[in-house]
Subunit: 312 residues, 2 copies
């Protein structure tokens, strides 16, 4: 299977329209979830809204919706959980950007939270988005018709993916607080893949499997979509690494950040060409994992192709 | 009702033994919950364990257990949720101690997390404890026999108490990121009470109501125990304010911190004598709220008297 043969397989599906429709759905719901109508707008709420409504691709919630719809479920069912996942993703960005972490001044094309609201407010803003995400999951999830048993499973999956064995461990590895390997040897491509699979991959994968579970996936379908999720998660990050070196793309922050921060990246270790090849292989693997899903998985397929083949 | 008439009402109950027994129960469980037996001890795990196992009164989990037992429930049932609440409390301490927040060097008598592990690790440690608390709640809660419906309610209650309308808002007010009052006038005693009721009170109250719900409380019992929780939460904080001025107690940090940080405290605004009086009134109110519970609520009663009457 070659990437070129996978492109534009269905001319009737327009990815740009799909992405912008779902993005609007997510942002409208986030906008109402993050406003307390009974109180005046305080600085904490303002700071939460600044970061959560600052744009961004909304990749994770869109993937959750697309996975749910691929199984025949409705976007309404999964939307609150999708928004909660985006709140968790946003908290992680606000904290990762802090001076003691990656010390970034720009995010999604605008000044980072702490440069506007101060460091203490940024820490609290992240804490609030993370905590409130669980409140949204449970209350809005029940309201949208998810059964308590399934909701407990969803909360377990998401907290595991975001916690000390998932995303947070990935960030600790990235900051070199946690070592890559037991033998403390040189950093290998496998180490970088592990870091990415935790830091970015875990939440992307759980977005997809959660959407699939809410859509009613069976065990085999879940396994296939988990492979899809792992593959696009890593492809996405390798493409980001390449874009960070060669520039381009629409990342909303300056190129070369990782190099300046003296971080080993996939692109540095493997080289640009090998990185592009790996991203293509992963994209093929992701598309291959969708082979049993038929037309309802068209959005997932197009998203994989978009993420893995962004212009370098 | 006078405090003096409430003391030592039951010579057969020994509070010190009760507190140390329950503390051991909580710490043994936390110790096993916060260890990943399949992996070597990494720096992140070490940092999490440093702060979560550094001692402390374990007031919140003990209150959850005492409330559950007051209703005839068992400690085993509520223990995982009690530990999850303590993880949330610990995360809030680790973040509150950060240089950009309260900038404290000592906590529970030992150096604060960031002075040992660095600021980035401390932020991630707090994030991990908060996220993993929800993983523990849902997985260990189900294993201990809590029904999914009730577990969803518990997760809703706890995330609300800890989130942007509860504990985090209280910390934002304390840091003067969020204003006390809409009119931005002088800080009043009512404002300070609001701040305390959010920053400390919300998590204490939800510890008690959660324990009570798991113990099978009816609506009336829940209302009484919520009043008990609100009263001891505020009394506890006013006593802390007084101890911060006059010294004494066993707070594990130096006296006078609040004054140095230029924070308005209850004791400064109301004076020492009025503060002691208010703490006594609140303690009477807490003990009064237990009047329908009989002997099974003896631990809750003794805890209220202990917290409200610590030696000044």
């Amino acid at each position: 299977m070659r990437i070129s043969s996978l492109k534009k397989s269905d001319m009737s599906f327009d990815l740009d329209t799909y992405l912008s429709d779902k993005k609007k759905l997510v942002e409208d719901r986030l906008n109402s979830l993050l406003r307390n109508p009974g109180a005046p707008l305080g600085k904490l709420e303002e700071s939460i809204r600044y970061s959560a409504l600052a744009g961004g691709k909304r990749l994770r919630p869109i993937l959750a919706i697309a996975a749910c719809e691929a199984l025949g479920g409705s976007a309404d069912n999964v939307l609150p959980i999708a928004c909660a996942i985006e709140m968790i993703h946003t908290y992680s960005l606000v904290h990762d950007d802090l001076p003691s972490m990656d010390d970034d001044a720009l995010r999604r094309g605008v000044p980072t939270n702490h440069t506007i609201f101060g460091e203490a407010a940024a820490i609290l803003t992240g804490d609030a988005l993370l905590t409130d995400a669980f409140y949204v999951m449970v209350n809005e999830g029940l309201s949208s018709g998810i059964e308590p048993e399934l909701l407990c499973e969803v909360i377990s999956d998401i907290s595991h993916a975001a916690g000390s064995h998932g995303m947070i461990r990935g960030q600790a590895i990235d900051l070199q607080i946690e070592t890559f390997t037991e033998d403390n040897g040189d950093v290998s491509l496998q180490d970088i893949e592990l870091m990415h699979s935790l830091k970015t991959g875990a939440l992307i994968e759980v977005s997809i499997t959660t959407g699939a579970k809410i859509g009613g996936a069976d065990t085999k379908q879940l396994k296939q979509l988990a492979l899809y999720g792992r593959s696009i998660g890593l492809a996405f990050q390798i493409v980001d690494d390449v874009l960070d070196v060669v520039g381009g793309g629409d990342m909303g922050k300056e190129s070369g950040n990782d190099a300046r921060n003296d971080k080993s990246t996939y692109a540095q270790l493997a080289g640009i060409e090998a990185s592009k090849k790996r991203a293509s292989e992963l994209t093929e693997s992701a598309v291959g994992a969708l082979s049993n899903f038929g037309e309802s998985a068209e959005p997932l397929k197009e998203i994989a192709l978009y993420l893995g083949c962004r212009k370098f």
